[in-house]
């Protein structure tokens, strides 16, 4: 693994876990390799879709798989490219067990000049018995203003500005 990728990993985690909807959902990115990302979503009562059973809403699975696949797509590129989702198709194989965490993995299976093709899977007890599976495609858009790099730079700046004491303590 090169140095650039070693720096990229914590930056991706910061951008995905600490901003906007990612922060609201409260997942943790557990693995980042080139073309492969995994995350862990602990159960949250706020995102229940069926109040009779406590099963989380399908929309959460959409967000987790979109985030995981999108992150896997970003690992294929340099920082001046963004990857908006073109489309995402999701099959729900079974309802998620309530009160249990959900694990999500995503893998890039084809990378062309303009499009990145991803597969994603969500499971609980058994990786081979998923609760949902998806395919998603991402467009490669060359830009500097909205790239992951600029998002992360802004986040890091904000993070250090808001918590200077925390930073000092960690350094010591």
């Amino acid at each position: 693994m090169n140095l650039k990728f070693a720096i990229f990993k914590p930056m991706l985690k910061l951008a995905m876990e600490r901003t906007g909807h990612g922060a609201a959902l409260g997942f943790e990115i557990t693995r980042v390799e080139k073309g492969e990302v995994e995350l862990l979503f602990p159960y949250q009562a706020e995102v229940v879709g069926n109040p009779l059973t406590g099963v989380i809403h399908g929309g959460v699975i959409v967000s987790l798989l979109d985030t995981c696949c999108g992150s896997a797509a970003i690992t294929m590129l340099d920082s001046r490219v963004v990857t908006p989702t073109m489309d995402l198709r999701l099959d729900y194989m079974q309802a998620a067990e309530p009160f249990q965490p959900v694990y999500v993995s995503a893998k890039v299976y084809k990378h062309t000049a303009n499009v990145i093709f991803c597969r994603g899977s969500a499971w609980q007890d058994d990786r081979d018995n998923p609760i949902a599976h998806c395919v998603a495609t991402f467009m490669k858009v060359e830009t500097s203003s909205i790239s992951l790099g600029s998002v992360m730079a802004r986040q890091i700046k904000r993070f250090f500005q808001s918590k200077p004491t925390h930073l000092i303590r960690e350094d010591e």
Binding site: G20, G58, V62, V82, I146
Partner: protein, 148 residues
């Protein structure tokens, strides 16, 4: 809070009788989590997702998270079924597909749904999301739900 299938059925019947689909969203915690709203306009229901920081995907644009748009459309489709189709229980989603047509900018998103086919077991719903104008949609989705 919903304690039993019977109380759920009562809530569904109430929402239909009062022509108030918002009552259906009120008992789904995920709807409050993303801030989804629904009201009857003309002959159908218009769903609305107001902007809020916790729905942002890309903070530097800022843009609404694609997953939130997907979740909002799936939620809207299930409320459309509860409101318009004669079902007694919450529909269970089988598959969901979304095409993103434009970025969701940081302002309200609107959606409408249409039940394209209702069988005994399966129901197919299409959903459309837009911001300024219905003729320039930001996303289109379709899904299957089991209703028995």
């Amino acid at each position: 809070m919903i304690e039993s299938p019977a109380s759920l059925q009562t809530k569904i019947a109430d929402a239909r009788a009062l022509r108030n689909p918002q009552q259906l969203l009120d008992f789904i915690p995920y709807a409050a989590f993303i801030g989804a709203k629904a009201e009857v306009k003309g002959s159908g229901i218009i769903y609305r997702l107001d902007k809020r920081p916790s729905n942002i995907g890309n903070p530097s644009l800022p843009a609404i998270h694609g997953g939130v748009i997907g979740g909002f459309l799936e939620l809207s489709a299930s409320v459309e079924i509860l409101y318009t189709a004669k079902v007694q229980a919450l529909p269970r989603v089988v598959d969901f597909s979304i095409d993103y047509l434009r970025p969701g900018r940081y302002k309200a998103i609107y959606a409408s749904c249409e039940v394209l086919r209702q069988g005994r077991k399966l129901i197919n719903v299409s959903a459309l999301a837009w911001q300024d104008d219905q003729s320039t949609p930001i996303a289109t989705a379709r899904c299957h739900f089991l209703i028995s």
